[in-house]
Symmetry: C3
Subunit: 659 residues, 3 copies
């Protein structure tokens, strides 16, 4: 459990570096990420490498006792490079080039740019790959940020045509797979294939899903290119990438497969309006962030990293890029750090050491003010560092969950592509709501990719397994689910599409019919102001399915449609419950699975990792750890608290050893 | 009165065709529309015609006792054709090519594409023009769908310049007609004329109206091209086109003039959010559609078809393309069918036979599920077919209306072009509201084009004639109105523009001053939250006019402006009434015209055709046919009901012979 | 104090001109603006000058006793000129050419177009420069209207690169000034500089501010080009330009520096939705306009014109271009005219003489209807003209203010560029609200540019000086403020940016720390539904700052942040007060400055100019001039009223000589 920070030596006079490094060390930091946006300083003109300053800055950090995560600078190719390869820029959905002048101005499919990346990464790896202070590498920065996963450039078009020709056995096979006979969309050859954009009305869902898969693979191979070089020239270093929050635009399991650790960048206040929250939520959690936003991502990225997860950037105060940017409540900067650790983070790195007075992020706060003085975050980080050092030994385990949620990026995408979801259903928000509800009920959660779930033994360890974005009809996963003992809960749209984004045969839930004998014969999407009530006062919004089955539904709607089909340990909910109904339904299911649910309320959260338990209070008011809660989480009155106490103000943390 | 269905043999294995045909026949269907999107199967590469499969599928249908409507496939030119003629694609208002990958990817002005259409239509007509099963042709599919009437391509620019040079006697005449002296917009030659798009601020209203007329004519000549070929090679077949709902982007009277029948595609739930409804309406009619949406279009398209109207596509269940897509209430599929027949439809054809599991419409339900099993719609259609066969003889009349609404597509467009309407006034919604109100008051309605109204004797038969989108100052129509006996009701903006979208001389209502001595000297548009009240508690929204007249107004506003000017049988309402006020005002006018208004409430509707009367209950609750209603509509207790009874649940239909 | 009108002889038959001129004269008008859109009539083809008609129309006006303001026609280059120089068109932020077909279709940076402008202006000036009726020139028309200040054309790119190379001492200096090391945005040469548009995420604030300054200078030099020609060929004429309302897209002080008079175009109803009003305000002031919108601009443009201000276009009735366009209340056309005069206007010119029946502004009312008959405005203007002539002598003074607001266009822009302002904070709206509040409190206001404030003695005359959009850290202004005796009130963000849009050193308020020892260490922006309350029940919205200071805050928030820092006569409010709180705070400050605030209520306004005082009642109800008000504004019962009386209905004006 380490504390780190992001630092930009190139922004400050070299004379200042030593003072900064010593200050970091004195605050209790041990890791520093540098270099990821410094290309124009590392290579001011083509082939003119200026690495000495970087070495001096690494040495300075090392001399202060700090380790370095070195970033490859490929997220910000300099102006001269764009002038050499103007066709390397991405193109947006309106057909417009996405120009130089900020960052991430490249198309993943540009071969010339891939060559340039190889070159600079190779040079850097050769020079710094064995530097003793360089303990890890970060590839690029926030793949996909600013909607950059998908580009509609000519380079992308050509690469996609090639991809198609490799994935389908001839153009007729592609036509058949995509159902191109519809509207005479058949191609005679692969070079007739266009991009699913700019069409008169919506393009073919199969076309869009294929393009999404292709684009996701382009991210994977772009990253892999750098990883391969780094492994060659910099052995025994962790290779990581910093993923983002609320972001599903490529398959993160797939990209992370080539990494040692999945790290991510956490901005709880910045994310608030993207967390699927409504206006009331946004008022409640204005200065804390949503209580389940950070932990959701910790748990998800821990799965991406196969147990290894870092927090590469942690919000330190107001940021500059959200629709509005309030200051966090006192204590939250420390709380967010502790929470990451509780959910398995090996490193919590704050963004950034010192606020930059110029350019795009000049209003983004930091540990230190633009003038170098300490800001609030510095004071909280020092406390956090001290507490970690003094009180807590790292548990061996990174998680202690009895409950798994299968997560499928392709399934999420397949659910997005079809319009009839209505305007208010978002598959990521839906799965986040499920996560939030089980967290409110005291659960520890593991995510598992559908591929991992289907193939190995991982699933065997859980008492409850939930499927909420497994839109694809997945034979292997269905077979695996048939073989385990856990209680299984499936939500609407499970198994409702083939791999080619078509309706499966047999009808939805497709392959999952093998574990529950139901058939969805009709779906309907509903406007935001319509809610459907069951005879058990449960409320369904957005999406409802009509099921035909020999099984009698557990509940019914007024119009006779059934709700909630069950066969022993397998459950299917054929409508989207609102949050209150989810709380009711999942309380029952958790009890059925003998998981001892305990309602912690809106903002108190309990996290267990190994033999340590943490309590976090997000508010909206003070919280009290009742005896019931403390018992449930193994508190020993004789041992007392490692941190905090029974009573928690907003922003407070408590921790104890579980018996 | 026939029932039909849309069918895509090219989507299914040939081995299935016979079973499908027999199933259709067994359900009581007699007409099948096919072929309209099959170009890539009919001509997989340029000049390689593959018509045999189509012949076999027609034969299969024929053998099952079904007639065929054959569609020309010109709405979906295949990929190879686009590669040959990339310049045939349309261009949108942002200057972007509207690309291949869905449908309707062509510009009406492309001469190369017109040649390709002639070629394929000629080939099809030669081959199938005399096939005994082919009883009708459909040209293309849904002209203008996805905003495709207007294109800003180079082909369109050139064609428009030519059009201008034909319509104006020299460039000076055009400059004068458009008022181009304003802002120095004068042209020196026709080839300087641009398109009314991409200008710094709004372009000249005259320029826009001219471009709309041009674009409307391009649709007409594009359709006419196909009609001429079909008439040559396929004599004695009905030629139809399937128009759309809530769609006024070209002059449908003008295009339909070349057809034998006007058919249209009716999606009552899909249209709900486009029907000018507010959120409360959308909740009320969520699963029925708006009670006056279908009938409005039936009556309007019956006028387009000069009495002959088909329903080419009827919604069978949830669709995929609206903002949300609920399931219809049980019974609505049958009700919609009956309602079309009551309003004069010769054919009700459901869309489609079987749900396609792939491509854009995979979530669009059908008579049968993707797996071929019957869905709800199949069950309702069977009942409808049986009822028609057993109970009802087709009346000779297609309508029995005493009330006419003059409808003018150019007038609608002229009212749209001028911005000061405010953001909430939509001329189509306004006329639909008038229609809805008189339907609620028990009226049967005919629409008449302003050209037909002005020129022939049609108008002579009505007791009440209403003008609501006759924005153009129309001398001939005014003269005709002066000559008839009917009560005349005019609404704001009548006669407020010349043919060139300028303010007429004399002032508005322009030519209509000749039938009512009023002069509009000021207009004002109002924000949505402002309503103006008259001294008779009538409420005006959106738009108000100040009239100078020797006539004393029937009512006044607080600020002294008058409201409602009348000279004997001629009335002018110089403001937009809200729905409640319209109900009050039109109840009075209907009574004045001795049309015996009877308020049927929100969702009960009565339709008379010849000696048959139907009652339809759209809800929102049960409805009762009171003795008063039954008497008013000629019910004979001794004869009883042909269908249904006095009490109607939502979705129920009743019918009886009128005495 | 003259009344004028805008007139377009080229729109009407020459045979009508004399009648029109006599009618204008008979109404009491003395000035007529003509010619500013007539290029296509003045030069129908390249080099073919047709000036005779213009001379005849000027002569006709002169013969009727009218003076002429002649406009240069450069806002509407004709079609043939665009065909010659298609590259002269501007390009919008989406990369699309802004095409011919309306007006203002040119890029300020186009050198070929500048040449054409020089040519036509020279020709006009040579011909009419010494015509005795031509007493003034208007350059172009409404610079920047329709967002035309900024263009992204190639011409602009090249000009900007040149501008940069002149403003920065080498590319390294530019990189340093802009902080381009951030995200590797460094350029190697000036020709690598791009435009701050179309970037993947937001472009560099420094880049944007530089581009704004450049674009503002392009307007200045474009105007200057014409001014220089006119001064040469038409000596002793006033040269003016007609600026707009609510428009800050270039530095108006800078452009007006080259003019004799700043004129502007006032559309109080058209502006209502742009005035920063909410829906309730828009309902209240629907038919009067906002009570402080006109006067704000009068006072601001009087500052631009260094005391000389004209109203070039005054709304006469409903216009055509706002989201909705209601009719003004009777009396408002007269009131708006009087109000302009009270705030220092030498001329009030109504737009336009006669409503054009065609083209874009056909729904824009005028003094006369399209048919030439008088409309309401004509009747009110005649009263106004008579009252002026009979009752009022022009005071020598153009203002009598004790209170100054420093206004800085660059500061406004710098505040806009940074996103964290939240979505609801608009620096212009904020300063307008301050203005509105002090006007409600009976104050007379002068605006002063920050340059003028810093450099001369102007500031010395005021008792209170306010800074609300002085976002830039301005050493000279701070020094000046230190030297005066006035009470100084500063609002949030004062001094928060350098000239290069970076955070200053020392921290904000930067240079203003020298007059008040405070340091802003944190800022936060808030969503619209969040308001922060102080312990004195003052309410802060949108934006709040945390201050570190040796000074104890006058108030505090619940969370301990302070509010309102003061050192003797210098005050800083570190949050955006809502309107009610502004009223409280400024009442106190005005009292502190011994300015005798008097709350006039929502819509009664008092204006003093020299020894004349006017009262204007905007409503929402009747108003009464109490004895307290009359005394405060020097009313002498013995002298009585020059116009009106104590009781004012909405739209009424009163005036008296102050003792």
């Amino acid at each position: 459990m380490k504390i780190g920070v992001c630092y930009y030596p190139e922004h400050w006079p070299e004379s200042r570096w030593q003072q900064d490094a010593q200050h970091m060390k004195s605050m209790g930091l041990s890791m520093v990420r540098i270099g990821e946006f410094a290309w124009s300083k590392l290579e001011p003109e083509s082939g003119n490498y200026q690495f000495d300053w970087l070495e001096r800055s690494i040495d300075t950090l090392q001399n202060a006792g700090l380790d370095v995560i070195l970033g490859t600078p490929t997220a910000t190719p300099p102006a001269w490079l764009i002038r050499q390869h103007p066709e390397m820029l991405a193109v947006d959905e309106h057909g417009r080039v996405r120009d130089f002048g900020s960052r991430r101005h490249y198309c993943f499919s540009s071969e010339p740019y891939r060559k340039e990346c190889k070159r600079i990464v190779e040079k850097l790896a050769e020079r710094f790959g064995n530097h003793p202070a360089v303990v890890a590498w970060q590839t690029d920065n926030e793949f996909g940020c600013h909607s950059t996963t998908i580009s509609y450039s000519n380079a992308a078009l050509t690469a996609f045509q090639t991809w198609c020709s490799r994935h389908y056995n001839g153009i007729e096979a592609l036509n058949h797979a995509w159902g191109n006979v519809f509207w005479s969309m058949e191609y005679s050859s692969f070079d007739q294939i266009g991009l699913p954009v700019g069409t008169v009305t919506e393009s073919n869902p199969a076309h869009r899903l294929a393009y999404w898969k292709f684009s996701s693979e382009q991210v994977k191979t772009f990253n892999r290119l750098q990883v391969d070089i780094l492994r060659t020239h910099s052995p025994n270093r962790d290779i990581v990438h910093n993923f983002m929050g609320n972001f599903v635009e490529f398959d993160h399991f797939d990209v992370a497969d080539d990494l040692d650790v999945a790290s991510w960048d956490n901005y709880p206040l910045g994310f608030l309006t993207r967390d699927g929250t409504n206006e009331a939520d946004q008022e409640t959690w204005l200065r804390t962030g949503h209580p389940d936003s950070s932990s959701f991502h910790h748990d998800l990225y821990r799965a991406c990293g196969k147990g290894r997860m870092w927090l590469m950037e942690q919000q330190p105060g107001p940021v500059n890029w959200a629709p509005y940017n309030p200051a966090p409540l006192p204590g939250m900067v420390r709380l967010w750090g502790w929470e990451a650790i509780a959910h398995g983070a090996e490193l919590v790195s704050y963004f950034r050491y010192r606020q930059a007075p110029s350019a795009q992020e000049q209003m983004h706060s930091a540990l230190c003010l633009p003038n170098g003085e300490e800001d609030d975050a510095a004071r909280e980080v020092k406390i956090l560092a001290k507490e970690i050092q003094q009180l807590i030994n790292t548990p061996h385990e990174s998680s202690s969950a009895d409950l798994a949620i299968v997560f499928d990026y392709t399934g999420d995408q397949a659910a997005r592509i079809q319009q009839p979801d209505g305007q208010h259903y978002d598959p990521l928000v839906f799965i986040q709501t499920i996560y939030s509800v089980v967290r409110q009920l005291g659960m520890q959660v593991d995510f598992i990719s559908s591929a991992a779930a289907a193939s190995g033994k991982q699933l065997d360890q859980y008492k409850l397994v939930m499927l909420a974005n497994n839109t694809l009809s997945d034979q292997a996963l269905a077979a695996k689910l048939a073989s385990i003992d856990a209680l299984i809960v499936m939500f609407p749209r499970t198994g409702s599409k083939t791999n080619e984004c078509a309706i499966p045969e047999p009808l939805p839930p497709g392959a999952f019919q093998s574990i529950l004998d139901i058939k969805v014969t009709r779906v309907e999407s509903l406007p935001a102001n319509i809610a459907m009530q069951t005879n058990k006062q449960n409320t369904i919004i957005n999406w409802r399915e009509r099921v035909e089955s020999s099984i009698v539904a557990n509940e019914t709607f007024d119009d006779g449609w059934g709700f909630h089909y069950q066969n022993n340990r397998v459950h299917y909910f054929n409508g989207c419950p609102n949050r209150d109904t989810l709380l009711t339904l999942l309380t029952q299911q958790l009890a059925n699975a003998e998981l001892d649910p305990i309602n912690l309320g809106r903002g108190l959260r309990l996290t267990q990792r190994g033999d340590l338990v943490w309590a976090f209070n997000y508010g909206p008011g003070d919280a009290e750890l009742s005896n019931h809660i403390l018992e449930r989480f193994g508190f020993q009155p004789s041992n007392g608290f490692l941190i905090g106490q029974e009573k928690l103000h907003i922003g407070d943390v408590a921790a104890w050893k579980s018996s």
